[in-house]
């Protein structure tokens, strides 16, 4: 948006890193009255150098280490790593393992989106919308825990397959949960998404136009909310996403409300995918056994997958040692950050949380 400097006093606000409305990062906002005339994001407060540390760990040891940046979307960040490592190690996982990976990835997408929804609720001052998704998220965490063994950081997907089979009775439990949650989604809509007050706060706020979204490199649900039908699960299917029938929710408006609705529809769509996967799954081996130390051939590989926040990209260079020579991670939050200053400039201060969290920026992920 074009901002006209009308003179007068400016106020510089440091929102974060110790602020209820920011994550572990800071936005330096310059205010002219109620309008933001400059917003400069300042990430890096939780930077740990994951890329450097990955060069000192074996391919297996990297898994619990690399899922730390996004613990609420642990499979989302480890799955592309494992796919890349599999290309380097030249192993092909069995069919059942692929399906279980899809279940975990979609469960994690639901868990991550529910967390996002909870925070978005409280960012708009709607405390019930904070409690409900957080509570219903427990159901999905329980489902993921029954497979992965822990509640957030599963370390579940490994090169060659997955670590263990899904437990007996999982299908019944999952279907029961989905049945319950579909009713809850209706209640979410009634109390929050169809609420005229919530719509007045988000409709037409922070509009990201189609050409700007492409130009700035926005990814994931934010891109789909701007009217671009791009999803790695469709574009370049990994696992068995090409065998599953699903439609990507796309909204044309590109405002905060569209970004919300894309994520709400993705909750529904992820459950549909898991249902289809559970129907298609056949018994079989779940792991391609690799004995001894994993050593990749010298070479490189790069892989992208669709995590909860957008396209997750890994580029691994190997020189035949136990440790990867170089691991480059390109995370969706880092690429979406560029959109933040673009969207914030010209909006009101009160719209800052509505825009900021509609991008689903996860500071720890971006800082790596």
């Amino acid at each position: 948006m074009q901002v006209v400097d009308q003179g007068g006093d400016k106020m510089v606000l440091h929102v974060g890193p110790q602020h209820p409305g920011s994550g572990h990062f800071r936005i330096v906002i310059t205010l002219d009255g109620d309008y933001i005339i400059d917003a400069k994001p300042d990430p890096g407060y939780v930077h740990r150098g994951a890329e450097k540390m990955a060069e000192y760990r074996t391919y297996i040891q990297n898994i619990p280490h690399l899922e730390r940046p996004v613990i609420i979307d642990a499979t989302g960040i480890t799955l592309p790593y494992v796919l890349t490592a599999e290309k380097i190690l030249d192993v092909e996982p069995p069919e059942r393992a692929q399906y279980i990976r899809m279940i975990m990835a979609e469960l994690n997408r639901i868990i991550s989106h529910l967390y996002w929804l909870a925070i978005y609720g409280i960012f708009l001052g709607h405390s019930t919308m904070f409690m409900w998704p957080m509570g219903d998220r427990e159901l999905f965490i329980d489902l993921a825990e029954s497979i992965g063994g822990t509640r957030v950081t599963f370390s579940y997907v490994v090169p060659g397959g997955v670590r263990n089979d899904i437990p007996g009775g999982f299908k019944e439990r999952a279907l029961k949960t989905f049945q319950y949650f579909e009713k809850r989604i209706k209640e979410y809509e009634e109390i929050f998404f169809n609420n005229p007050l919530m719509q007045s706060r988000t409709v037409g706020i922070g509009i990201l136009k189609k050409q700007n979204a492409v130009k700035l490199g926005i990814t994931g649900p934010n891109l789909r909310a701007s009217g671009i039908n791009s999803d790695t699960r469709k574009d370049e299917p990994y696992c068995f996403y090409n065998k599953i029938r699903f439609d990507i929710p796309v909204y044309k408006e590109g405002d905060s409300y569209a970004r919300c609705m894309v994520r709400l529809r993705e909750l529904q769509q992820s459950m549909d995918i898991i249902r289809q996967v559970l129907d298609r799954m056949k018994p079989g081996p779940i792991k391609h056994v690799i004995r001894g130390v994993m050593r990749g051939e010298p070479g490189e590989a790069f892989v992208r997958t669709e995590a909860a926040r957008g396209t997750m990209f890994y580029h691994i260079v190997s020189n035949g040692e136990r440790f990867p020579y170089r691991v480059k991670i390109s995370v969706p939050s880092f690429r979406n950050l560029i959109g933040m200053s673009h969207l914030l400039v010209g909006s009101r201060l009160a719209d800052m949380p509505a825009i900021y969290w509609s991008l689903d920026y996860w500071p720890v992920e971006a800082d790596k």
């Binding site: 930077h47 990814t219 574009d235 790069f302 560029i338």
Partner: protein, 159 residues
């Protein structure tokens, strides 16, 4: 040439005829293209690739090769707006000498590369010329060691 790589081969062929011998084809696999070029031609090649439809940078990084005394700088471009190219990831590689780590920025071609180039600058010490914000992004402001992702930076307690 398998059936899966018809589009990819066509793309590379088109680029090769345009730039003659200035680009090298590293490999063409299904959904993956990698070409390399010299730093001087990088900008022209990047512009050509962008005009083909690859409108976003998904990743930009570098790798340190201390034995050869060079950095490999890689750009991974994807396409989100043209349906038939969406499956392809286009990697452009160039090498720059370690003693003069400077390269022209691609910010005016792909605005999405802004933070990636900043990150590469602080992690490898590669200066991107004409980049408006060549400053620290993730590292602390008072970082006074060598850039951390270079191979000669050693982690305490390792090696």
């Amino acid at each position: 040439m398998s059936k899966n790589t018809i589009t990819e081969t066509k793309l590379v062929k088109g680029l090769k005829t345009k730039f003659n011998k200035q680009i090298t084809e590293e490999y063409v696999e299904p959904n993956r293209i990698k070409i390399s070029t010299s730093p001087t031609n990088l900008k022209a090649v990047a512009l050509a690739i962008k005009e083909l439809g690859f409108d976003q940078i998904i990743s930009q990084g570098a790798t340190d090769y201390p034995d050869d005394n060079l950095f490999r700088v890689e750009y991974h471009a994807i396409c989100v707006s043209i349906k038939k190219f969406r499956r392809i990831m286009f990697a452009i590689m160039t090498t720059i000498p370690k003693n003069k780590p400077e390269i022209e920025t691609l910010l005016d071609i792909w605005p999405s590369v802004e933070f990636h180039e900043q990150e590469t600058f602080e992690n490898f010490g590669i200066t991107f010329l004409n980049h408006p914000r060549m400053e620290r992004l993730l590292l602390p402001e008072d970082w006074d060691d060598i850039p951390p992702l270079r191979k000669d930076f050693s982690l305490p307690g390792r090696d």
